[in-house]
C-alpha cells in the first residue's frame, strides 16, 4: 500500500495527538479524564483512519450520499482549524493560569509573611 505525502503528514499529526493524549492519560495527569481520552480517540482516530484509508471512507461517504472533491477540501480545512483551535485554547489557558498565579501570589503576600 502506498501513501501520498499529505496522507503521511496527516497520519503523523493524528498519531502525535493520539499518542500524546494516551501517554498523559496513562500517566494519570491531573487534567486527564476518560471523556477526554475518548474524544481524542474519536476525533484524531477518525482523522488518522480517513488519511490512511481514504477509499474506505470514500465508499462510506458515497453510501451516505456525500459528494467528493469539495468534501475533501472541507475535511482538510476542518483538520487545520481543529489544530489551530486546540493550540490557541491551550496557550490562552496557560497565559490565564500564569496571570491568576501572579495575582494570587500578590494577594497572599501578607499571609505568607505572617507565617
Amino acid at each position: 500500500m502506498q501513501f501520498s505525502i499529505i496522507q503521511l503528514i496527516l497520519g503523523f499529526i493524528s498519531l502525535f495527538f493520539l499518542i500524546n493524549r494516551i501517554i498523559r492519560f496513562l500517566k494519570k495527569e491531573r487534567t486527564q479524564t476518560g471523556f477526554k481520552l475518548l474524544s481524542t480517540l474519536v476525533v484524531w482516530g477518525g482523522i488518522l483512519f480517513t488519511s490512511l484509508f481514504p477509499r474506505t471512507v470514500h465508499i462510506i461517504s458515497m453510501n451516505l450520499g456525500f459528494g467528493e472533491n469539495l468534501n475533501t477540501l472541507i475535511f482538510f480545512g476542518f483538520v487545520i482549524v481543529f489544530i489551530l483551535l486546540f493550540k490557541l485554547l491551550s496557550s490562552t489557558e496557560k497565559l490565564e493560569r500564569n496571570v491568576t498565579e501572579m495575582v494570587r501570589k500578590e494577594a497572599l503576600k501578607d499571609v505568607i509573611k505572617k507565617n
Binding site: 494519570k28 491531573r30 487534567t31 479524564t33 476518560g34 471523556f35 477526554k36 474524544s39 483551535l85 486546540f86 485554547l89 491551550s90 489557558e93 490565564e96 493560569r97 496571570v99 491568576t100 495575582v103 494570587r104 500578590e106 494577594a107 497572599l108 501578607d110 499571609v111 505568607i112 505572617k114 507565617n115
Partner: protein, 228 residues
C-alpha cells in the same frame, strides 16, 4: 492590606466577593451573629467599594488586583486558610443567598467525610427556572466529563477537611471550578456527602450583573470539555 485574624484557627469561612458592596457587610455580620469569627474574604478585583466595606470588619481580607473569577478567588481563600493552619474550611457566597445556620451541620459532617457538598432544593418553586435548568445541565456535563453524578454540581457552599485542602489541585478560574472539585474528589478518592442547604434568592442576587448568564454557561461547558 492588614491581616486581621482571631486566635481560633480550627475552621475558616471563605467568601469570594466581586462587586458586592451592598451586601458584603451584612453577610459578614450575619456570620458573626451565629458565632463565626474566622472569615476570609477574597475581593476578586471589585470595581466598587467591596474591599473598603469588608475592611471595616475584623476578618482576613485578601485582594485580587485583577478580576480572575469565582474559582480563582475561592482557591486563593483556600490557600490562605491552609497557610493559617485551618482544619476545616467552608466556602460561602457573598451575595447573601446562603444561610450561616447550615454551616454547623456541614462542619459536623466533616468528622466522617473529606468533602461536604451543599445541595440546594431545586423542587422549591421559588428557585428560578434558569437555575434549575442550569443545574441539570451542569450536573450532566460534570458527570460526562469527570464521571461523578451529584444532585448539585454548581453549589458554592461546600466544606473541606484538611486532607481535602492538601490534596486537591485545581486550575479553573471561573464557574467550572465547582465541577473541577468533583474531579478532584474522584481523582484523590476523597469521601464526600451532599447535605441539604437553604438558599435565599433575593432580588439583589438575581439582578447582579456578573451572575452566570446563558452564554457564560455555554462557555463554561466548552471550557470544561476542551480544556487541555
Amino acid at each position: 492590606m492588614g491581616i486581621k485574624n482571631t486566635k481560633e484557627t480550627k475552621y475558616y469561612i471563605v467568601i469570594p466577593a466581586y462587586n458586592e458592596e451592598q451586601v458584603i457587610g451584612s453577610v459578614i455580620e450575619e456570620l458573626y451573629s451565629v458565632g463565626y469569627r474566622n472569615i476570609i474574604v477574597v475581593d476578586d478585583g471589585s470595581t466598587d467599594n467591596t474591599y473598603r466595606k469588608a475592611a471595616e470588619k475584623k476578618i482576613v481580607l485578601l485582594r485580587h488586583i485583577l478580576n480572575r473569577g469565582k474559582g480563582a478567588a475561592i482557591k486563593t481563600g483556600l490557600e490562605a486558610a491552609r497557610l493559617l493552619n485551618a482544619e476545616h474550611v467552608v466556602t460561602f457566597d457573598a451575595d447573601g443567598q446562603h444561610d450561616p445556620k447550615d454551616i454547623r451541620q456541614m462542619i459536623k459532617l466533616l468528622d466522617d467525610y473529606d468533602v461536604v457538598l451543599g445541595q440546594r432544593d431545586f423542587s422549591d418553586k421559588h428557585i428560578p427556572f434558569f437555575k434549575r435548568m442550569g443545574n441539570f445541565v451542569g450536573n450532566f456535563v460534570t458527570w460526562v466529563v469527570y464521571g461523578l453524578w451529584v444532585a448539585d454540581s454548581q453549589s458554592g457552599m461546600r466544606a473541606y477537611s484538611k486532607k481535602a485542602l492538601v490534596c486537591m489541585e485545581t486550575t479553573a478560574d471561573r464557574y467550572e471550578y465547582d465541577s473541577e472539585i468533583l474531579r478532584e474528589i474522584v481523582r484523590n478518592k476523597l469521601s464526600y456527602i451532599e447535605t441539604p442547604i437553604h438558599v435565599r434568592y433575593t432580588t439583589y442576587s438575581q439582578k447582579k450583573a456578573d451572575r452566570q448568564t446563558y452564554i457564560g454557561a455555554v462557555k463554561t461547558v466548552i471550557r470544561m470539555i476542551l480544556a487541555d
